[in-house]
């Protein structure tokens, strides 16, 4: 379990690091666009659409690490009054449908990305090929579903807390 935990943590941190790099690049792109507009009278073509797609990639890549650290907001004060055994069962009942739903979203996002790739759909203004960004978000949802499963496993099998 500890090996699995180490792998999951490293994997999520790697995704999150990538998200951080993309975020930094997005901020640099926006500021460069402003400077270009102000100083040279020229904008960087496609900034508006690219910033949107890059933000989607940041979100997709950071979803699972947020879940790993229990960062998605939940209301815990009722369940926390229950005995530990009951809390585990409630978590099991809650996590399984959540995991299935997130996996379903991931699957459908992959399918959506494939459709966009096949049809050659591009962004309306600057013709950016955007299906890779859909794949990144799909991958993020898949990683999120797996992290929900891992959190559940960790509760029943044990292992170190982060």
């Amino acid at each position: 379990m500890q090996v699995l935990e180490a792998v999951v943590i490293k994997f999520n941190r790697a995704l999150d690091f990538l998200a951080g790099v993309i975020l930094a690049f997005t901020a640099i792109l926006i500021v460069s666009n402003i400077l270009g507009r102000a100083l040279l009278g020229r904008s960087i073509l496609g900034t508006y659409e690219m910033v949107g797609f890059l933000t989607a990639a940041v979100v997709g890549l950071a979803l699972s690490r947020c879940a790993l650290e229990n960062g998605h907001i939940a209301v815990g004060f009722i369940v926390e009054k229950f005995p530990p055994g009951a809390q585990k069962i409630i978590n099991l009942v809650i996590s399984i449908p959540a995991m299935a739903f997130l996996a379903l979203v991931a699957y459908n996002l992959f399918a959506y990305g494939s459709r966009v790739a096949v049809t050659g759909e591009v962004s309306p203004t600057t013709q950016i090929i955007f299906y890779p960004f859909i794949y990144v978000v799909a991958f993020g949802f898949l990683a999120l579903a797996l992290t929900v499963f891992f959190n559940l496993l960790r509760q029943f099998v044990g292992g170190e807390r982060i």
Binding site: V21, I30, V31, T55
Partner: protein
């Protein structure tokens, strides 16, 4: 079964799920998907969920969220709060309750570069609590003053909650930011008055600190205040002047914080990496919440609940003031249990049409009022987020003790709300100038 009944059942199931600790974002998306599926078809619901998630995450107007969060985390990790507190402390530290009063001013100033009330509470708490402890301040007053002060940042721009309201209500983020300034200053002033009068009546609550000389005060001005003013001027000044879009203002704010902290050699690679990491985590949490709220909102829209609510409100034999009071009461109760962001995203599709289309209230004014009411939720039991954060910072203070000290500050928020309802211009005056 009528669509409205399906919608009501969906809302009940949602509350049931979150009561069992399902993350609010998952619950909204799942109920939204299931309800939409029931009222249309499973394939339509799958298509809706997929496209809404991707289009929400990739919407340019939402990229403002990570930018302002990054700006706040950079300011937080680079220690801008410490220098602001030093300034406020030297100005008013000698008054009864002076350190707690200084805390309010610091929260408001730090709120001008940080969009998160929890980050504001954590930053200022870590700086102010040890000082107040050193001068034997009452623990309830000191901890509660920081927890409540963090909520001022909700109103002072940039505010993530205003951004989320703006997205949910389709209102200009720039106008909302402007609308929050006077109510934010008003709330800060009321907090200060409450602390001053309490400490004058019961001197053991907040004994005065040493008085600083004018030279010391002048020197402190050059530290924190100048940094904040520079960042605020280039980022939000540019937004208010119409030079930048909100996302651009956020990115310029990031560059501004980097610049002023680099000039003073207070930033390094480790701070930048930590800020990026904190930002991606917070952004993922907020954006999943927003995406899920869009899915839930689509279900609520086809369930016709907003129309039913609007009809109900128009048929009520109550003055519009009473209906608004009723809505605020609902927010107040729900705000005690649900996080502010989630609550706004969840309820705006239901209550905004009633307040704006039926009762004719200004959506910007309504936004300020709602944001202020949900801000009460961050300091009220049982899920007052800021109180938990301050408990974590203070270490050895029981939650009950902090909550006990919150009451005077809740009273101040209620007074601020009453003033905003009586004088709507407090919120609408500044936006009317642009």
């Amino acid at each position: 079964m009528s669509p409205t009944m399906v919608g009501l059942i969906g809302i009940c199931v949602f509350f049931l799920l979150i009561a069992h600790k399902m993350p609010i974002a998952y619950a909204m998306a799942m109920v939204g998907f299931a309800g939409f599926s029931y009222l249309t078809s499973t394939s339509a619901a799958l298509s809706m969920v997929t496209s809404e998630f991707f289009s929400t995450f990739s919407r340019y107007s939402l990229s403002v969220i990570p930018m302002f969060i990054l700006m706040g985390f950079l300011a937080f990790h680079a220690g801008m709060g410490t220098r602001l507190y030093d300034l406020a402390y030297k100005m008013v530290g000698h008054l009864p309750g002076g350190l707690a009063i200084a805390t309010q001013a610091t929260c408001a100033l730090f709120g001008a570069v940080c969009g998160s009330n929890t980050a504001t509470a954590a930053t200022i708490g870590a700086i102010a609590l040890p000082e107040m402890r050193k001068y034997n301040y009452d623990t309830s007053l000191s901890t509660a003053s920081v927890a409540a002060g963090g909520a001022i940042g909700v109103l002072i721009p940039p505010s993530v909650i205003f951004i989320v309201y703006g997205i949910a209500a389709e209102q200009s983020v720039g106008r909302l930011f402007l609308a929050g300034i006077i109510p934010g200053i008003l709330l800060m002033s009321l907090y200060m008055l409450v602390i001053y009068f309490l400490a004058r009546k019961y001197p053991y609550l907040g004994p005065p600190g040493p008085r600083s000389g004018w030279r010391e005060r002048y020197m402190a001005l050059g530290g924190g205040l100048v940094e904040v003013m520079v960042v605020f001027a280039i980022s939000l000044g540019g937004l208010f002047a119409g030079w930048f879009m909100p996302t651009e203002a956020g990115a310029v704010g990031v560059a501004g914080v980097l610049l002023v902290t680099a000039l003073k050699r207070r930033i390094n690679a480790s701070i930048i990496v930590r800020s990026l990491s904190d930002t991606t985590r917070t952004t993922a949490m907020i954006m999943l919440l927003v995406g899920s709220a869009v899915v839930f909102g689509r279900f609520i829209a086809i369930s016709r609940i907003p129309f039913a609510m609007a009809e109900w409100a128009s048929e009520l034999a109550l003055p519009s003031f009473a209906v608004i009071a009723l809505i605020l009461l609902i927010y107040l109760v729900l705000g005690c249990f649900i996080d502010a962001l989630a609550l706004i995203l969840l309820t705006i599709p239901i209550f905004l049409p009633v307040a704006v289309d039926i009762l004719g209230y200004d959506p910007i004014w309504f936004g300020v009022i709602i944001v202020m009411v949900v801000a009460m939720g961050v300091i009220t039991p049982p899920v007052g987020m800021n109180v938990y954060i301050i408990q974590g910072v203070a270490g050895d203070v029981p939650l009950e003790k902090i909550f006990r000290g919150i009451w005077p500050f809740l009273f101040a928020i209620v007074v601020a709300l009453a003033l905003l309802i009586i004088f709507p211009g407090l919120a609408t005056f500044l936006p009317s100038l642009i």
